[in-house]
């Protein structure tokens, strides 16, 4: 696999230091990384998930509409909307943990625009609604 752009490398390095849950996808929406804090929310260690293509991670991490309880479509997932629309996106959703429990989550996603204006991917910061970032 070729070396990733240094902006993504630095983003991962930053995320790995932060206690804020962060989820990082590449230009095709593929999962590149999530940090330890995100492992706590998602219920899976990153080692178990490593670099899943888009179609796979959206199955492994089931997301649902907060009001209707319906599964979120690809077009509704904040990190993928940020990637596609090149705009920051903020929203609430439900995440189904491996135990089957659905937890309400607030997510803010930003497109990662590199030097020269290339969209390199997107990052989502998220946390459970009740528990705060340390949950």
């Amino acid at each position: 696999m070729a070396q990733l752009p240094v902006e993504l490398i630095l983003m991962r390095q930053l995320a790995s230091y932060l206690a804020t849950p962060i989820f990082l996808v590449g230009p095709e929406g593929e999962l590149l990384f999530y940090n330890e804090a995100a492992e706590g929310v998602l219920g899976y260690r990153f080692d178990e998930a490593v670099e899943l293509p888009l179609a796979q991670w959206i199955r492994e991490f089931p997301l649902f509409n907060t009001e209707s309880g319906e599964p979120l479509s690809v077009d509704e997932i904040p990190v993928l909307r940020a990637l596609r629309e090149r705009d920051p996106v903020h929203g609430s959703l439900l995440y189904e943990r491996p135990s089957g429990e659905r937890v309400p989550v607030l997510a803010t996603a930003i497109p990662l625009v590199g030097q020269g204006g290339r969209v390199l991917g997107a990052a989502a910061i998220f946390w459970p609604v009740s528990g705060g970032a340390n949950a």
């Binding site: 696999m1 070396q3 990733l4 240094v6 490398i9 390095q13 230091y17 030097q115 020269g116 204006g117």
Partner: protein
Amino acid sequence: MRVEIWGSRGSLASPGASTVRYGGNTATLLVVGDEGEHLVLDAGTGIRPLGLKIPAEVRRVDVLITHLHMDHLQGLGFFQPIFRPDLEVHVWGPPSITMPLSARIGRYLSPPLFPVTLRQMPCRLELHDAEPYARIGSLRVRSDLVCHPGPTVGYRITSPGGKVLAYLPDHEPALGVDPFPASPEWTSGFDLAHRADLLVHDAQYTDDEYRDHVGWGHSSIRQLAAFARMAEVNHVAPFHHDPSHSDAEVDALAGELATLLPGAEVLPGAEGATFDL
């Protein structure tokens, strides 16, 4: 392709009795292509004596700047070819989304910090944002952002015969990577350095010194060894020597690197060293 080191010191010029062998001038290399191309890598203080040695028949010089820290830019106004009206001088530097290269270089090369402006230089001067892939004469020049404070690129120069020089004078690929190295795709600078015939790379610190300089943008000798091993490089020139390091201390670091890289050739990143690739 011939590679000459005209300055190998990092951060600040450091002349004196304790630095005569590795030299006190800051980062400057000359690359002479097989078809007579003259590429200058970085405009440290080594560029002044280098400029005096550019042959009169040369009509074009390309100055490839990795980033705008002073130790890589300070010599530009003292580079004799920029005073030659018959010469084309192309200056390449890291792209920025906020300010063109001319404006960023002009912050230093203008009064009150410097007596004249870039526009007043007699040569035919052209400034370019470093492109990911460029061609200068017969040489292919690749540039890519690397991990160092502020936009900084490294260069990979390939001769028509396929020989490769990788130049990453200021580089901290280990920042935030524990343990270092991670896999190649998550390692800054990997693509630039991979299987190069000569890697000129940051080797500013001992391991002890690095612990007090995390995030300053430079590498320890052990990190350079790990990076070179991952990049499958067999010829390494430790570079960007700390201004406080004497020749004996740089010798010791180069010796440690050679021990860490059995089978590889560690070539001194010394002012005056020449490599034929």
